[in-house]
Subunit: 352 residues, 2 copies
């Protein structure tokens, strides 16, 4: 069996247009050096043939290399979350490296905004075509983004977005809706009229903006449905177990809570507290498919986990840069991730 030897490709275009391959090449890449007349003719033929360049041959012949930087938090002792996007990025890289894609990784600490600046500056000193970043710290990320724009470097955001700014694409959850879904799920856990606590656990204020979006979405569910539930919010600026425990204990001493919504992956910290103190009457909703969280989901201490495909975010993030540069495709400005619900019953089948 043979590959389709139908006349196709630049050679056939050249033959039909009575020009050389090089001329066809010129109009395809719309370079200069072709008269308007021939250009028009060739373009017509290309359209008529519905010519699609052979990407294999193209990238084989091209000596071009695209360099992408990745700027995301380092996986921390407190949460393994960022392992997932990294895994997705590496998977994508493996698929496209033969097309001439180079990737350099830069990691900052989620509880230290200065490290973001350090890594960002390293990137700016080097030379990259595109950057895949998690803009955890709004003002720092914004500053960096503008510098990139000035240098004509394309950015793709993952995990959380920044308002009023337009990267090549945002790939991640709709944070508001994600929170709203959490609110909705509460109706399956407790009757209306209960006491609900939104619990934010985050060291850096700047990295917290996306948690607040979730909280807002969560609250909106109750407002829109004229719920008689009471929804309060508590924020802890420490992420270690003892601090979280202390703050939570203090709160629970004065107030009754029927359902607790943790706005990020730190839900396992709360679950651990519930477990050690034998608290079984508070329903618990949180985020992310992490081993520690799954453990508590399995045990029934966490009732629902909401997940947003972190691996896929990384995977799509790098592929988006690739599509833009190598395949020069038009890119969706926003690529929202699904809002997945994990329970004790279905988590085994989840693909992060």
């Amino acid at each position: 069996m043979q590959k389709n030897n139908e006349l196709s490709g630049v050679k056939e275009i050249a033959r039909r247009a009575n020009v050389s391959i090089a001329t066809v090449d010129r109009v395809i890449h719309n370079r200069t050096g072709v008269s308007a007349k021939t250009k028009e003719k060739i373009e017509a033929i290309i359209k008529e043939m519905d010519y699609k360049p052979n990407l294999l041959a193209r990238s084989l012949a091209s000596r071009k290399v695209f360099r992408f930087a990745v700027l995301i938090p380092r996986e921390s002792a407190e949460t393994e979350y960022w392992k997932a996007p990294l895994e997705g990025i590496n998977k994508a890289w493996a698929e496209i490296r033969m097309y001439g894609v180079e990737v350099v990784f830069f990691h900052y600490e989620l509880n230290d905004r200065q490290t973001f600046n350090n890594e960002a500056n390293k990137i700016l000193k080097d030379s990259f075509h595109g950057i895949l970043l998690a803009p955890s710290f709004i003002s720092e990320a914004l500053e960096f983004f503008y510098k990139c724009e000035a240098k004509k470097i394309k950015c793709v955001f993952i995990n959380s977005d920044i308002s009023n700014v337009s990267p090549l694409s945002y790939i991640g959850p709709d944070l508001f809706q994600s929170g709203k879904l959490a609110g909705n799920l509460s109706k399956y856990l407790i009757p209306d009229g209960g006491n609900i606590l939104i619990f934010n656990v985050s060291r850096e204020l700047g990295a917290e903006h996306h948690l607040l979006k979730k909280a807002t979405g969560f609250k909106s569910y109750f407002e829109e449905n004229n719920s008689s539930s009471t929804v309060n919010m508590l924020t802890v600026h420490r992420t270690d177990y003892d601090s979280v425990m202390a703050e939570l204990a203090a709160y629970l001493k004065d107030s009754t809570v029927d359902l607790l919504f943790v706005t990020n992956s730190r839900v396992s910290t709360v679950a651990k507290y519930f477990e050690t103190n034998n608290i079984t009457n508070i329903k618990l909703i949180g985020y992310d498919y992490l081993t520690r969280n799954i453990e508590y989901l399995e045990k029934g201490i966490i009732d629902f986990l909401i997940c947003q495909k972190p691996i896929e975010q990384g995977y799509k993030g790098l592929l988006t840069l690739y599509d833009y540069f190598v395949e020069s495709e038009k890119i969706d400005k926003v690529q929202l991730m699904p809002i997945d619900i994990l329970t004790k019953e279905n988590y085994k089948y989840y693909k992060n």
Copy 2:
């Protein structure tokens, strides 16, 4: 910026081994015509260099074509379900056709097992390297599978599996667990001790085996949890609205039902019945992200939809054949799909 001009590729291997490129090529594809000594030497060098062939160049230079047949149900007036796998297949094909992949489609009617045989025979008369099929009718599919095995044609199953048979891969849901999850979801909808009805809607008995697996899984949840709920099952061998309606009405006249579990995408038919008859006190769980189902999910008539990534099933199905033949990768025998839960709140973000 230039591509890595580090010495790599067959040329470098040939240089190091003091042989020609052709000889290296011979050992790579372990063809005959190379002395044991040189073969050994070249293999050592390949290992040492950790040589990875450039797939682009390989497939560009290769004149090989792989022909795959796709044998799945035609999208019917009653359910658009099979549009989704088809979409996934076409997406995958678009990505790999430049690697020399040909795909021919064959469609059978889900309510007529004879059409399966007709199409299957067409496939056997032609010449294909691999087949992607939905083995809806067990005995017919089994017969076809054995004929393919005899002709050394590789098969990939999607959507439902057949026991005691080993295709190249099965890509689809774990039907038992899927049903079990549905059972679990019931606890969020009705208190324990309720009356539950499993409802199968399927014309052909043979195409129903995977529905029964779901039903078994569903029941197992109640057994394992020592539930006091009553679980009955009803099967209708017509798929048109009037027949379904009649059967259901007859059943409901004699029995009270608190929750109804429809084992396939026909749940919208039931929902329509509920809507027109203003039945609001029966919770409804069903399958698949179809426009009609989503409509009733939005309206609150369907409470949960379970989805199993039909598009991805098709996508992965074709890619699996491709990986096996073109990239000669080792293939996972079973590729289970996630069991996704859709509610009114999160369906908008679902990727089928």
